[in-house]
Symmetry: C2
Subunit: 407 residues, 2 copies
């Protein structure tokens, strides 16, 4: 029986470790003697940093703690494998496959988002080219929900729930004085507005909801935005706005580039986006003479392990298990996707898709789910997102704080 | 039987409505036919905006939802009553007392922090001067924990718990790549560092804790701070720092004044503080050539009703009830305080203190609870804060979100 190896890559989520739990338990139950975990993904693996999870997770409570531990248990990386035809690439790929063979690996799982699927895609293609029998399967994960093919990504439901919950709380906080007040909340999402759209979930019988939602799918115009706020404030004093960090002007520049923050660029060429809400709050304060506040949800929205969606946790575990099933049954170069069967009652299953269909593509919020005036989400989005935030997984509180498990 | 009136004032907390529940239930059970709630505190009351809570809270679940609803249910204000000897002040006070008499008010409760106790102090003094038999009692509330006389303030425990929990999650998120990274987290607290100190609670067997804690009690030196970070980063790559929004330079200026943010001033003359973490993160990025991130916990730390301390909720309810008991037994011009009897097992009771001892004074973190190098809290602080964050009050989730009650 061949061994299994699994890695985590890309940005943290609250449920990425549930997928790790799913891979681990499924691989172990199918007979893998060793289930190795790469430390810091493929980058750490190249430096011989890995552990045997079979030796670490010995008690059932370890798995329960793992499911409640946010951010990647094994550590992560943002390492981009070179194109197979690049200079020196062959050496690197040969090194990886030699290491995998020396560890008697038969099954390779990578839990991650777009960039991580690119890694799986390249490894599977290289393996196929050289006739390797190692199976490479991608396990989807990203709060951004921007992977194609899959109905949604594990990680999104919990982030969406967190955003819905804190928007309710922020709205309540912001209305307390009854005075003129504009709150601009900045939410993650570089090109896809799924997370920002989740602010719409705050609305209910006990909350009037956010007043405006600005997604990167719609070109942003600062003047029109300020004018909308001015009109809204004629009718109510406290205005709460959810804005994506990735909103762009019609000329393609990010709105945050109008601010004076430093914008670094990462290994995948992505600009660091920050300062959108601050820029907009300052602009409103100057032009409308009203008190403003900007709130960046920052990393809290992706690592709030104390507030997860049980639906999301369960699905994250399931995609891990389904990946193992696929690999052990002979599949390779595929990603596990979630396929929604029905909304009410919510039913969802898993299926496989060739990873080449997925890597480096982005799924955006359909324009027809955004209201005509570009300020709210339509019911279609609510129907889509609502099932994903249902139910809770109670943290294990010890001494007043949720307990985690660490490597 | 005389009627009761209650108001909420100052900044929101997660548990201020538990004190409202305590006042309401105690006053009703002692026979008040009407328990009026001022909308937006004394300011709304002056505009005849109030409700009868007896007509509103008719079912037991209303009270349970109230306890789980963050931010002031009745709305708040930042209204400063004039000094009794100021021009025109007599007219205003006479107006207030005439309204109270016309409503047959015998008991007046104000739930708030320092500035709110100033209001109670002035009303009680004016009432005493004119021989009014209305009893005025202050109910303490502030996440800042800066009221004198009381061991701690309701609201602090939940905010401290929130800070402990999210710092654990932020630390976990920030270490995921294993790369050089400095995270500066800005926490509320103008002059007292109680909230920032709560970051120390994150440390445990499953978390190595924050690397530096900067309180406003200790003069801040930007150069020394950067040098400390540089030294820390020689030993570990991810550094997480908790810094109070109120840290001040030796010359008395706030560190955030070194940034380019707008700093408005409120009715009590308090400058709006923001941008401390951003300024420090940018300074570190420039001087140490390392990746940085700033996170402002912003209003989330005071309105996170989804994550409260049950100890805090219970005590908030108790101080409300104790205020009613005191007033109905004839006390006036006093504030209910919490008196700690023992740490382990934690035992705490209530007592009364003349409000004139409390109003406009601030209780700071004792310097002897801060480590010699000004980077960590000593065990004395942990022993003090630990009991206050214990146990949880489970939110009532409906449709995936905690339910609130609204006026």
């Amino acid at each position: 029986m061949k061994n299994t190896i699994v890695g985590q890559s890309g940005g943290p989520t609250s449920v990425i470790n549930s997928s790790l739990a799913g891979v681990f338990e499924a691989a172990k139950s199918r007979g893998s003697e060793h289930v190795y975990g790469m430390c810091n993904g493929i980058q750490g693996f190249l430096e011989d940093r890995y552990v045997d999870l079979v030796e670490i997770f010995t008690k059932p409570i370890d798995i329960e703690l793992l499911k409640r531990t946010p951010s990647s248990y094994l550590g992560s990386c943002r390492y981009k494998l070179p194109d197979i035809n690049d200079d020196g690439a062959k050496e690197l790929y040969e090194k990886i496959f030699a290491k995998l063979d020396s560890m008697n690996i038969g099954y390779f799982f990578y839990i991650g988002g777009n960039d991580s699927m690119d890694t799986i895609n390249k490894l599977a293609a290289y393996g196929a080219g050289k006739g390797s029998d190692i199976r490479f399967i991608g396990v989807p994960k990203t709060i951004d929900n921007d992977l194609t093919v899959t109905d949604h990504t594990p990680g999104y439901g919990s982030a969406a729930k967190y955003i819905g919950v804190v928007m309710k709380e922020i709205i309540r906080d912001a209305t307390v004085y009854g005075t003129k007040y504009v709150t601009v909340v900045e939410i993650m999402g570089r090109n896809a507005g799924w997370l920002t759209a989740a602010a719409a979930l705050a609305k209910g019988w006990d909350c009037e909801g956010v007043d405006m939602i600005c997604l990167p799918e719609v070109p942003f115009n600062v003047e029109r935005f300020v004018e909308k706020v001015r009109k809204m404030q004629e009718k109510k004093s406290s205005i709460v706005i959810a804005v994506s960090e990735g909103v762009k002007l019609e000329d393609g520049r990010y709105v945050c580039e109008l601010s004076d923050d430093v914008h670094a660029v990462d290994a995948f060429g992505h600009k660091s986006l920050t300062g959108t809400a601050r820029f907009l709050a300052n602009t409103i304060a100057k032009q409308l003479d009203t008190k403003t506040r900007c709130i960046e949800l920052s990393t809290l929205q992706r690592c709030a392990g104390h507030l997860t969606s049980r639906t999301d946790i369960t699905e994250a575990y399931q995609v891990g298990g389904a990946a193992v099933k696929a690999a052990f049954e002979g599949c390779t170069g595929e990603m596990v996707a979630l396929k929604r069967i029905s909304n009410a009652p919510y039913q969802c299953t898993t299926e496989l898709h060739p990873i080449s269909e997925i890597a480096n593509l982005e799924k955006k919020v359909p324009l027809e789910w955004i209201s005509e005036d570009h300020t709210q989400m339509k019911q279609e989005f609510i129907d889509y997102a609502y099932p994903l935030i249902q139910a809770e997984l109670t943290p294990m509180f010890v001494g007043g704080l949720p307990q985690h498990i660490s490597l």
